[in-house]
């Protein structure tokens, strides 16, 4: 089995979950409705939990321990898609990102349920209920706000249009695509992207939102190879501020 290919897959998944979980946790205590504040925070915790599980698998493959991996790398060493590092902005963007990203994540884990790489297949089976909740939550919120008031529809529409190029960046082609497919580890980004587009279309058609034609959108790539926006390094500096007071200390 090609370990480099597996590591590339694990790193981008783990980094995505860490960075987006971190971003979403910023809403805790500032949410638009108490019940939603709670729900959104739980899903952020799930994401951090997923990233920890993935870094733990990496650790078993010889990478450094999860805390060191998460808290001491610099931006150019991160493989998350740029989509996840963008600031939260208003709730419309955070919600649309949650919908677009988690739809992809749920599908990815669903596909990985059959992976020949056992640890990933096990993790995928384990977290299916969490991801079911995330997509259930995202779908119902987008449906509600995407059909409610003029303001909510127009906010979601704008955020959707802004988010889509970044969302397509989730599926940035991997240099190991054929290795992963041939070894039965993962069906690949292309297959995931196609499934994802169908899911997104079917949900958006149940709202008053308009989905632009896919061919008009240019995907924002680069995150997977460490090319990030100016937003990632400050996020990492903030996240590791206490940790870096003394990285050898136990906190």
């Amino acid at each position: 089995m090609n370990h480099e290919a597996i590591k590339e897959l694990l790193y981008k998944m783990a980094d995505d979950q860490l960075i987006l979980g971190h971003r979403n946790s910023e809403w805790t205590g500032f949410g638009p409705l108490l019940e939603e504040d709670i729900a959104f925070s739980s899903m952020a915790q799930d994401k951090i939990g997923h990233s920890l599980a993935l870094y733990t698998i990496l650790n078993d493959l010889g990478e450094q321990d999860p805390d060191t991996t998460a808290f001491t790398r610099t931006a150019d060493q991160f493989h998350n898609t740029v989509f996840t590092e963008l600031p939260n902005a208003e709730y419309d963007f955070s919600l649309i990102r949650h919908f677009l990203y988690d739809t992809a994540e749920a599908l990815r884990f669903e596909m990985l349920g059959q992976s020949s790489f056992e640890p990933l297949a096990q993790l995928a089976t384990k977290v299916r209920g969490e991801l079911r909740y995330h997509t259930m939550h995202a779908n119902i919120w987008v449906k509600q706000l995407g059909t409610a008031t003029k303001e909510s529809i127009s906010r979601l529409q704008q955020s959707l249009e802004f988010a889509l190029p970044y969302a397509l960046g989730i599926f940035e082609p991997s240099p190991y695509e054929s290795d992963l497919i041939n070894d039965g580890i993962f069906e690949g980004e292309k297959a995931l992207e196609e499934k994802w587009k169908k899911k997104v279309e079917s949900l958006i058609t149940q709202t008053q939102l308009q989905l632009p034609k896919w061919e008009t959108i240019t995907p924002h790539y680069g995150g997977r190879i460490g090319n990030h926006t100016e937003h990632l390094q400050p996020l990492l500096d903030e996240m590791s501020e206490v940790f870096n007071i003394d990285p050898t200390a136990e906190w």
Partner: protein
């Protein structure tokens, strides 16, 4: 605003310090939430959520009421769909105030809940087939009343409840593994002992 909280420093400055006064009660509906902590335990009332509809109430209730401890299933019902008996005290039983009700209309099933003690949650005790809520209470007094005193009875038409579907049962799959929300995961005893031993020297 310059804050110690970096999140606060990123907040947009919106509006003015004087918010426009709200219209009283400009909020949406309330929904009652029932939780089943274990497979062989009855559903129990746990509280309410604010939501615009039953489905969202279900989604919001899940994290508001079952992110901690144990849960295998939940359900929610809108407050207006809960039919309430009189509330009694002392040794007065709520069922003694339920009178025979006529059959009117089509039969439907109703879920029945008892409050066994003031201050405690209502618990699900069974289902009756009735044509209206008053008849449901009356039938409950015949079919579900036991020796145990009841202070208050609720009846909810089964079709007014958003139940957990078979395919939603996975939602609580990892709940027992979320140790980071559990006091038992924070045992500092060893560390403390080592520290105390070291500081004695």
């Amino acid at each position: 605003m310059k804050s110690l909280d970096p999140r606060v420093n990123r907040l947009p400055q919106t509006g003015s310090a004087n918010t426009t006064p709200k219209v009283p009660l400009d909020q949406f509906g309330t929904f009652q939430v029932f939780v089943q902590p274990k497979a062989n335990k009855p559903f129990q009332h746990e509280g309410i959520v604010h939501a615009p509809n039953l489905e969202m109430a279900y989604v919001l209730a899940k994290e508001a009421f079952t992110r901690r401890f144990t849960c295998v299933s939940i359900y929610v019902a809108e407050t207006r769909n809960i039919h309430v008996s009189v509330l009694t005290e002392g040794d007065d039983d709520a069922y003694d105030h339920v009178s025979e009700a006529a059959q009117e209309g089509k039969k439907a099933s109703y879920e029945i809940f008892h409050m066994f003690k003031r201050g405690k949650q209502h618990q699900h005790v069974g289902t009756v087939e009735a044509t209206n809520p008053n008849e449901a209470l009356w039938l409950a007094s015949k079919q579900l009343r036991t020796e145990k005193q009841v202070f208050n009875i609720w009846a909810i038409r089964t079709s007014d409840i958003r139940f957990t579907n078979q395919e939603d049962l996975d939602l609580w799959l990892t709940l027992p593994e979320k140790k980071f929300r559990d006091a038992a995961a924070y045992k500092g005893g060893e560390k403390l002992k080592t520290f105390l031993d070291a500081s004695k020297k």
